[in-house]
């Protein structure tokens, strides 16, 4: 019997329904005369929303993750990419995505729905080339915004305008390739939805400071994903507010994600999507991962409050700011996105270590699990420096190798054994019912 009461999340069914609808809408878009575009989850997706209410996108990373979860299909995709000559050490989301394209198989049934255009930003080397290749292969137009303006703490007017000017160019380009007149009111609506959804996601993550934690990270993956699909949509913003209310209720009523919570951890980088059982294995020790910089800070937008703690970033609307022009919307959108926590570490691993230690302190964590993710050069950048920084701060930390999207690079037995050693290090034995008979 657990120490805390627990119950399933009521929002779970809606989360699944929304996600499947998103992928179905993308596939069916042309039937309704709509537009389909593809790009990364970090692309400024509020911008194409100004083309109309029938614009649907597929973001490559969550799609790559969905493929990874389907091991046989992922294997086919990987092999298709390798057969084309692509190296195995390239981004595994990208290889999954390309494989799906080459095989003409859509992870959600039917053929790969060819987008009308690619619209992207250069968050890393892989992202830069990913959609260039898609565009060349499918012979469709491609626009990319370069966002390498340095960490947010160094953002100045010139750096901001470097991005904003490209956003303006993107709009002109979108009008040209689609033949549609751009609607600034739709842009403003999308931008406000994005502020709402990303700030509310941060609120939800903040609620996980509670003991017991109302959510576990494995569950959070199925919830945060909506922010990676369509953070600019009213549906996602509304859903997150509903979810926040439910999580708040769970906190007020001590409803735990893990009835036997006795150890709180955080993970790092994308998980090995084909082996999320790693999180269930941890639970056999009464240990749960309450989140990570990845879960909190890829979609969540945060700010440091006057007391030095992290909290959801105050939206312009909450400050009473009314967005009335295209330029104002784009400036706010650029600034908002460039402050994304997960964006910062690309520039300096010390920035990431600092953020991770903030999370350890604020969420009262007992240890950190670092996924040395061979499938993502971006999020793994500097991770061993992070390990060192965390260890030097006296926080127990373990690493395990794997790949977010290529299950061939995950050794389940070895990782579970590593976890056993780490649990021993934390003086935790497996809970009685799971221990050796």
């Amino acid at each position: 019997m657990g120490v805390y009461k627990s119950e399933p999340l009521k929002s779970w069914a809606k989360a699944k329904e929304l996600r499947l609808k998103y992928y179905k809408d993308y596939r069916e878009a042309h039937k309704k005369g709509g537009i389909r575009w593809t790009g990364g989850a970090w692309a400024f997706d509020a911008i194409p929303a100004g083309l109309g209410r029938d614009v649907y996108n597929i973001t490559g990373e969550p799609y790559g993750a969905s493929l990874a979860f389907d091991k046989p299909l992922s294997q086919e995709c990987m092999e298709a990419a390798e057969a084309k000559g692509w190296a195995r050490d390239l981004c595994s989301y990208m290889r999954n995505y390309w494989g799906s394209m080459y095989l003409n198989k859509y992870a959600f049934g039917g053929e790969y729905p060819t987008p009308d255009f690619c619209y992207q930003d250069h968050i890393c080397c892989s992202h830069g080339k990913w959609y260039q290749h898609v565009a060349e292969y499918k012979k469709i137009p491609y626009f990319c915004i370069d966002v390498s303006v340095g960490p947010y703490k160094d953002l100045d007017e010139d750096r901001l305008m470097f991005v904003v000017n490209q956003m303006h160019e993107a709009i002109e380009w979108l009008e040209k390739v689609t033949g549609r007149k751009y609607q600034d009111d739709l842009l403003i609506e999308a931008v406000e939805n994005e502020f709402r959804s990303t700030s509310t996601w941060a609120e939800i993550c903040l609620l996980n400071m509670a003991r017991p934690a109302p959510l576990d990270e494995k569950t959070m993956y199925s919830l945060y994903v909506h922010g990676t699909l369509a953070k600019h949509s009213k549906e996602v913003a509304d859903f997150y507010e509903e979810l926040r209310d439910e999580v708040q209720y769970r906190v007020e009523n001590n409803i735990a994600a893990l009835p036997n919570e006795r150890c709180r951890l955080m993970s790092d980088t994308q998980p090995p999507w084909g082996f999320l059982k790693v999180f269930r294995y941890l639970e056999q020790y009464g240990a749960l991962s309450v989140g990570s910089l990845y879960t909190f800070g890829l979609i969540g937008i945060w700010e440091t409050k006057p007391d030095g703690t992290w909290g959801p970033r105050t939206t312009p609307m909450q400050k009473g700011e009314k967005i009335t022009t295209r330029d104002q919307a784009l400036r706010l959108l650029a600034d908002w996105n460039l402050s994304k926590p997960e964006w910062q570490h690309f520039y300096d691993p010390d920035l990431k270590t600092e953020m991770m230690l903030q999370i350890v302190k604020q969420w009262q964590l007992d240890g950190v699990l670092l996924h040395l993710n061979r499938g993502c050069e971006g999020l793994s950048c500097g991770i061993m420096e992070n390990r060192l920084g965390i260890a030097e701060a006296g926080v127990p930390v373990m690493t395990f190798e794997g790949n977010m999207g290529d299950e061939r690079e995950f050794d389940e037995k070895s990782v579970m054994s590593r976890i056993d050693s780490f649990m021993e290090r934390l003086d935790l034995k497996m809970l009685e019912s799971k221990a050796r008979a």
Binding site: A391, M398, S421, E424, R425, R436
Partner: protein, 261 residues
Amino acid sequence: MITAGIDMGAKNIKTVILRDGKMIGKSMIPTGFDQAESARKGLEAALKAAGIELSAIGHITATGAGRKSAPHAHSDITEVGADAKGAIFRVDSARTVIDVGAEEGRGIKIDSNGKVLDFAVNEKCAAGAGSFAESMSRALEVTLAEFGEMSLKSDKHIPMNAQCTVFAESEVVSLLHAQTPKEDIARAVCDAIASRIAAMARRVGIEKNVALIGGVAHNAGFVTSLKRALDCDLIIPEEPEYMGALGAAVVAGERIDNGGK
């Protein structure tokens, strides 16, 4: 009080029996395909060496890759935990433990009680483990024992370019064709393994004294290379390949004291 530790290693199963902290019996049996059967044979052999029956043992703790399938074991402990306990039992001044076995290398930081403070394990790479040395000794057509001694005769440093054991074997063949003396190649291999192990150990920090355990500690050439790579002395306890099993037997004793937990 009599306890036993079984180290279900990838290549060999080691069993140690302790009575009041003194080793009274031990055995080493190849793991083979049927781990459980090999472990049974290993335990029988150790009991015979100790001159006692199975019923005399108060608690058996298993460790190693196959620890969950060790027959007769009352409990298990990870290799990291067992190494820490075994090392501190024999080398009470050890604060860093390096274990190099057939397929895995570990760097462990411990306190004066043998509690693990941090650890690192070689990731999927046999180039930092004993099987690499064995594979190279075969390529040089010498025994493993000769291989280690041979490397000590070299005074040259030839860096090996290959990161992988498979390619390293090709590189060794190329070096032989280029008339490179076997002693120099043997040293290059030992240096390569030592360099990977040292890099892994540095992840947990090197704090003296450093204890080296595991079967590869018998390889004099590797030991010399590792001392050079770490730029410090190493303490190698007697019978280093048994330290995991010894640690498990020590833990078994602690668990009897804690009511079997």
